[in-house]
């Protein structure tokens, strides 16, 4: 039986991570607009407890967006919201 010796966490423990739980696509777009205004491609933050930093809940990257028409969204998730409970067990 192998036992854990060390655990390092980089992402967890930041209130900003939690804030991402209720973020919407609209929030991400607003942030993207703000980021563009500040002249950098993605938002970052730091937390004293952990040395590394991450973006918020939305995808943040400078990868070019393909020129194809936008995807439709919202095709997954309806059952979970209808049952009004978590998806985890």
């Amino acid at each position: 039986m192998k036992l854990t010796q060390t655990i390092h966490l980089s992402l967890l423990g930041s209130a900003l991570v939690v804030a991402g739980c209720s973020r919407t696509e609209g929030d991400d777009k607003k942030d993207d607009d703000k980021d563009k205004g500040r002249g950098h491609g993605h938002s970052t933050y730091t937390h004293a407890w952990f040395p590394r930093y991450y973006g918020g809940s939305g995808v943040r990257s400078t990868t070019p967006i393909p020129s194809s028409p936008a995807s439709s969204r919202g095709g997954f998730g309806s059952t979970g919201h209808a049952t009004a409970g978590p998806a985890g067990t």
Partner: protein, 390 residues
């Protein structure tokens, strides 16, 4: 196995929040409950480990059995998804994790209550929170817990398989699900994916690009591989479900897990292994009808009735001595159901623990305990830590 009392650490809420457990309190009561801990001897944890491997072996055999005997209707799998599931099995798509829930009465083998094979949570608590608690309270002692290391390994394997980017998705607005996914994302980043190679996406924000015939993220990148904390039985019935059949996305957990997260599994396992004295020691008799249960176990048999697709202890009915002794509500009351022989949880002064045994990439690697004052474990049942006493 002993239940012990211990004063919680000062400011324990702030401590566990710094480790990512923001959902430590539910309705004003501790969900993470460090006023209690369980202690085990090494032989007991060895027995739990053995039970976990035995149940996993039986479950893998059950998947093959369903395919060989075309039993998909027992699992409410519609015909159009059968080939999709079979393909994920035959190509040996890797499973990251699962959690077996056991009832363990002293002097008996652990008995499988159910297998949370697709979307198990309570992972952060088992892997991280109780480990840091152990280091604070009993630094010289150990714990059945190498979950974190095994997760690191499995994400390193995935990276070695040429999956350059992983997305991680959970349903919007559910903090426990969200933090479970963020923990996995954190581990994947440490395993080599880095912060930009392991990205989060709400399950509702998964896109379908009609022209490119691919699932996409919010930046219109194709989803090559995604971990979704969202059950298969919901996905295949939703608007984007049919696209699963043509999409090139690699999903975690893999589609074959839909057979193991379904409580029809319990009846199938008993049908397959009930006559095997060694393997059946870990199982409870379970059937697809109350009539069959009474035929096999006797007309006065006590039982628990479970919807085959229920979650978080919803719509469970326990019948003892011919009367209902416990019952939970929920949205799954329409069934269909399985009937499982009632096996009482151990009673520690009115507290009933269920042992959740974690399997990561095929390794039995840790345990998390949930206890309740009800004999049915639900979403708000308390998580309590454990130690290896000797």
């Amino acid at each position: 196995m002993k239940r012990n009392l211990l004063a919680p650490r000062d400011h324990w809420q702030q401590i566990v929040e710094k480790q990512g457990l923001y959902f430590h309190t539910i309705d004003g009561m501790p969900y993470w409950d460090e006023s209690v801990y369980y202690s085990f001897e090494a032989g007991e944890l060895d027995a739990l480990e053995q039970a976990t491997y035995a149940c996993n072996d039986m479950c893998l055999a059950a998947v093959q059995h369903v395919i060989d005997h075309q039993l998909f209707d027992r699992f409410l799998i519609t015909p159009e998804f059968v080939d999709f599931i079979i393909k994920s099995w035959q190509t040996e798509e890797l499973s990251i994790y699962g959690r077996f829930d056991f009832c363990w009465q002293p002097s008996q083998p652990p008995k499988l209550l159910e297998y949370n094979a697709d979307t198990p949570t309570a992972l952060l608590e088992a892997s991280v929170i109780q480990w840091f608690w152990l280091k604070d309270r009993f630094p010289a002692m150990s714990q059945f817990n190498s979950i974190h290391e095994r997760l690191l390994e499995v994400f390193q394997i995935l990276r070695g398989q040429g999956l350059p980017r992983l997305h991680f998705a959970a349903m919007k607005g559910h903090l426990e699900d969200y933090m479970t996914v963020q923990y996995l994302r954190d581990v994947a980043a440490q395993a080599g994916y880095g912060e930009m190679g392991a990205t989060y996406l709400n399950i509702e924000d998964i896109g379908w690009n009609e022209r490119r015939r691919t699932y996409t993220d919010l930046q219109e990148r194709s989803l090559s591989a995604i971990f979704k904390l969202y059950p298969w039985e919901w996905m295949i019935r939703e608007q984007f479900g049919p696209h699963l059949l043509e999409g090139q996305t690699r999903w975690f957990e893999p589609a074959w897990k839909v057979l193991l997260s379904n409580k029809s599994l319990l009846a199938l396992l008993w049908q397959m292994f009930g006559a095997d004295p060694e393997k059946s020691a870990y199982l409870l008799p379970a059937f697809w009808s109350e009539e069959e249960l009474k035929q096999r176990l006797g007309p006065s048999a006590d039982f628990v009735k479970k919807p085959i697709l229920s979650r978080e202890g919803c719509n469970i009915t326990a019948v003892e001595g011919g009367r209902v002794v416990a019952e939970t509500g929920g949205p799954y009351g329409a069934g269909p159901f399985v009937w499982q022989q009632l096996h009482r949880l151990p009673d520690f002064g009115g507290h009933f623990p269920v042992l959740g045994s974690w399997l990561v990439n095929g390794w039995a690697c840790g345990m998390g305990i949930r206890e309740d004052t009800m004999p049915i474990t639900g979403n708000s049942s308390r998580f309590v830590p454990h130690v290896l006493a000797k």
